[in-house]
């Protein structure tokens, strides 16, 4: 952050902190210098605070713990609730956030257990990817020639789905995704569609759909469509939920008739 700039201002940042999973949360406020138009984003604000960990009351504190890696909104690490909206800290510019409110507030996501401060434990999401057998069942990694041919149209659908970075925004926004149930949420439903749309991937289609018909599967979705509004990668989640929903119904009928 360039010092002694004429147009420099300080921005008030309020952060909800929590020392450990069982500790009770508390708020701390920091004043962070930055100039309009200098591209300061939330992760650089957090870096500044790490180097200058003193609150507005002059109390020395610790650097804020948060997850981050790519800093270009592609790894999904730095999801947090900023000014009440769930999003990535690395792609949020202070200038833009100040158009929403005069001060900036940052909180951890509420749908996952807090590890510390803004870092949360998203293992549930990774476990659910495993639950739906989110992979293409290949015959091992020896050279066996190319994969199946694919139409550009199908590739286009799959490509859009494949950009899900497991950030968790859709789960944070979903009214059905709670601590006390095992709903998989929109991201995982969308992955069911992703794998079922691949020729080899679809060998596990029945297993995936069966999982989707269990408690916590696609029927748990209340169609509130909050998820699609907050997805930073513009994944067509509503379409995915509809497609997987239809497929499970079809599968259920088929099973009745086969029996």
């Amino acid at each position: 952050m360039t010092a002694d700039n004429a147009s420099q201002r300080t921005v008030r940042i309020n952060i909800k902190r929590q020392a450990s999973p069982d500790a009770s949360p508390r708020w701390e406020a920091f004043d962070v210098p930055c100039s309009p138009g200098d591209g300061t984003n939330i992760t650089s604000v957090l870096e500044y605070i790490a180097a200058h960990p003193r609150t507005v009351d002059g109390v020395d504190t610790t650097p804020v713990t948060y997850d981050a890696a790519c800093l270009e909104e592609v790894c999904g690490s730095c999801t947090m609730v900023i000014n009440g909206h769930v999003r990535q800290g690395c792609s949020q510019l202070v200038d833009r956030l100040l158009e929403e409110a005069p001060e900036i507030t940052i909180e951890p996501m509420s749908k996952f257990p807090v590890v510390r401060d803004l870092a949360v434990n998203r293992e549930r999401l990774f476990k659910d990817f495993q639950r739906i057998q989110g992979w293409v069942p290949i015959d091992g990694s020896y050279a066996l020639g190319p994969g199946p041919k694919e139409s550009p149209e199908n590739q286009d659908v799959r490509y859009r789905l494949s950009r899900c970075m497991a950030c968790g925004c859709c789960l944070e926004a979903c009214p059905q995704y709670t601590f006390d149930n095992d709903f998989v949420g929109a991201a995982v439903i969308s992955q069911v569609r992703y794998f079922n749309r691949h020729e080899t991937g679809s060998r596990l289609e029945d297993e995936r759909l069966e999982e989707m018909m269990k408690p916590g599967g696609v029927n748990h979705c209340g169609q509130a469509q909050n998820c699609v509004k907050v997805c930073p990668k513009e994944i067509p989640l509503t379409e995915s939920i509809a497609e997987v929903g239809r497929a499970t119904t079809r599968n259920a009928f088929r099973r009745i008739f086969i029996k």
Partner: protein, 630 residues
């Protein structure tokens, strides 16, 4: 050793680590996989451009695996060992096929074949891609296969764990590692019959780079301090066009220039006018002026150096380290074509590049050097002996290095879209080498005394305690910033004897100041203050190898440009730099080793000599220019 008892530890879950985990688990071995972040969030996710391989169409136009190898060697200014490059390019088509079978959504032709991209003016289309996020799709596909093995119990994920030190016995053989749980802060040892380091590059030694924050090189630096050599540490690739940000440099793809983008600065030094109000004749299009033939499309080395130079002389925008990359004059159709990359610029700067020129600057991008590895060459040099235990093993038996963290394949600079290939290739070709090594071990990690592991844990606990106890006056974040600024100023684009010496002197001070680091957090739960500071100490050691390597290499080659020695000097320096850590002195020692050639005679690389280039060289130069692309 009995086959099913052996355990292999892999440090790193980027493309290299995951490809290795998949292959080794498939061979029936037990894998422990360590990563600072969930593996799906590894730095490989950032790669956009694509992955190279000879393919049927290009082949019918005259391209081949051999030409791919030749381009790689030429691009790397002949500093790479030739047999491994030959093997890698020969495997490239199989790598693509494999990733295709795993369901990577590669772009398709209307008929449904994999589409190909022309990269950086190469004569042949040989770059496979999945939209604008190839690395992400490749990483996910491998993560999925590894999770499949995990669901069958063959892989244990240790995510949010940090590798601290290899466990090496009295005979110098690696027997496992010590790592720390980044939540509970528990430090513990893991027995392993072999350890694979796949920890990626070291960009953040230079402060801000195009790399992820976790690419700090600390893991490699620890292996180095534990006795693994470094190969060619001085070779660091700088990308000419990145978007300077407060927290990182984000890559601005070269396609902006490819489509007609122009680089300029105001003619008047320190001009602070809005660029849109600066008339044409008051703009200095310095690339076009100095290189009329190539203009804005000069090879990467030149573009990087010229931009750096202009700014060093205070002629950057407003006197700062930035120049304009201007696409505002391009037709709307072209701007549309550039949509994906213009979006990135807008998202992270808040400015619309369609309306106002982009501000860009070169940034550290890729680590060619790294952990020193060996291999078993075939008798005819045309590749490596399959399954030979020695492939990509470091000088420490049982300790391997795969992916960006090793020093092979790219020589003095890397061609675009060759890194992803190198990572997956290492995993699938050299993974089986690790398996043969452990199968031939007489005594494994399980036979080692507990004290060996306890001692290494103790050593790491003491280091943490010393950090907590130091309570000095040095702020680790500000010290890192200083290290990064110096390394960038004197250790990247333009290097010179005095600057390097000055920086090495300064580095000795950093070592002292590091001992006085003050931690404001001495807690034992998810303490990022401590882990950040600890890594800095290791990065300083790695930095010393970079600087010393650069000082002693008194020539210019690939990414290493010495103002005082601007020519390549094959007689003296067609050699690998080997850096060894002297633990007693806390210093770096260098020596040089012959490079195995045998396939292609080194020829002059015409990079930078636009006037002299005849048409044949032009073609070669352009394919070399791909290095800039990703």
């Amino acid at each position: 050793m009995s086959r099913n008892e052996s355990r292999i530890a892999i440090v790193g879950g980027g493309l290299a680590g995951l490809a290795a985990a998949m292959r080794i688990a498939e061979a029936g071995k037990q894998v422990d996989l360590f990563s600072l972040v969930p593996v799906r969030r590894s730095h490989s996710v950032c790669a956009q451009g694509g992955i190279n391989a000879a393919n049927e169409v290009a082949r019918q136009q005259g391209y081949s695996e051999w030409l791919h190898m030749d381009e790689t060697l030429y691009g790397g200014d002949f500093l790479a060992h030739q047999p491994p490059v030959c093997e890698m390019t020969a495997w490239a088509p199989k790598v693509i096929d494999l990733m295709d079978r795993m369901g990577v959504p590669f772009n398709r032709t209307p008929e449904g074949h994999r589409d190909l991209r022309l990269f950086g003016g190469s004569l042949y289309k040989r770059t496979h891609f999945a939209g604008a996020s190839t690395g992400q799709q490749l990483l996910y596909a491998l993560d999925e296969q590894v999770r499949r093995h995990a669901s069958e119990g063959r892989v244990n994920h240790y995510e949010h764990w940090e590798f601290l030190w290899p466990v090496i016995d009295d005979d110098g053989v690696c027997r496992g590692l010590v790592a720390q749980d980044l939540r509970t802060m528990q430090i513990r040892a893991f027995r392993a019959d072999a350890v694979v380091m796949a920890t990626g590059g070291c960009g953040t030694i230079f402060g801000k780079s195009t790399n992820s924050t976790i690419c700090n090189g600390a893991a490699a630096a620890r292996a180095y301090q534990a006795g693994v050599w470094l190969g060619n540490p001085e070779f660091i690739q700088v990308h000419p066009t990145a978007i300077p940000g407060q927290d990182k440099f984000r890559l601005m793809s070269e396609s902006a220039r490819g489509e007609g983008g122009r680089v300029w600065v105001p003619r008047k030094e320190g001009d602070t006018r809005d660029p849109r109000n600066i008339p044409e004749d008051e703009r200095w299009y310095f690339l076009e002026e100095k290189y009329p033939a190539y203009g804005n499309l000069v090879p990467r080395d030149i573009a990087t150096r010229e931009i750096f130079w202009v700014c060093q002389q205070g002629k950057g925008i407003g006197g700062e380290r930035m120049v304009y990359l201007d696409i505002t004059h391009l037709p709307d159709a072209t701007k549309k074509k550039l949509y994906a990359i213009l979006e990135i610029y807008e998202k992270f700067t808040g400015d619309d590049p369609r309306e106002t020129p982009m501000k860009i600057f070169p940034a550290v991008h890729y680590t060619m050097g790294g952990l020193y590895t060996r291999y078993e060459p075939r008798d005819d040099n045309q590749g490596m002996v399959q399954n030979a235990p020695g492939n990509m093993m470091t000088n420490v038996p049982g300790l391997y290095a795969f992916g960006e963290v090793n020093y092979q394949y790219h020589g003095a600079t890397r061609l675009g879209a060759n890194a992803l290939l190198n990572c997956i290739f290492d995993g699938i070709f050299c993974g089986p080498s690790v398996v043969s090594y452990v199968d031939n071990l007489e005594r494994g990690a399980a036979d080692q005394p507990q004290s060996l592991f306890d001692d290494t844990v103790k050593q790491e606990e003491v280091k943490v305690k010393e950090l907590f106890d130091a309570q000095g006056d040095e702020n680790p974040y500000l010290l890192h910033k200083e290290v990064g600024d110096w390394m960038t100023d004197y250790g990247t684009v333009i290097r010179e004897e005095n600057d390097l010496k000055k920086t090495i002197d300064r580095l000795q001070e950093w070592k002292q100041r590091f001992k006085r680091v003050k931690l404001v957090d001495t807690g034992d739960w998810s303490n990022t203050n401590m882990t950040y500071a600890r890594a800095l100490g290791d990065m300083i050691r790695y930095a010393e190898a970079i600087l010393l390597g650069a000082l002693e290499r008194r020539e210019s080659r690939g990414s290493h440009y010495r103002l005082d020695y601007p020519e390549r000097d094959d007689d003296k320096f067609l050699k690998t730099t080997i850096a060894r850590y002297n633990a007693a002195e806390d210093s770096t020692e260098l020596e040089y080793e012959e490079i195995r050639m045998g396939l292609v005679e080194p020829r002059q690389r015409t990079y930078g000599k636009v006037e002299a280039a005849d048409s044949k060289d032009d073609a070669q130069e352009r394919s070399g220019a791909e290095a800039a692309k990703t």
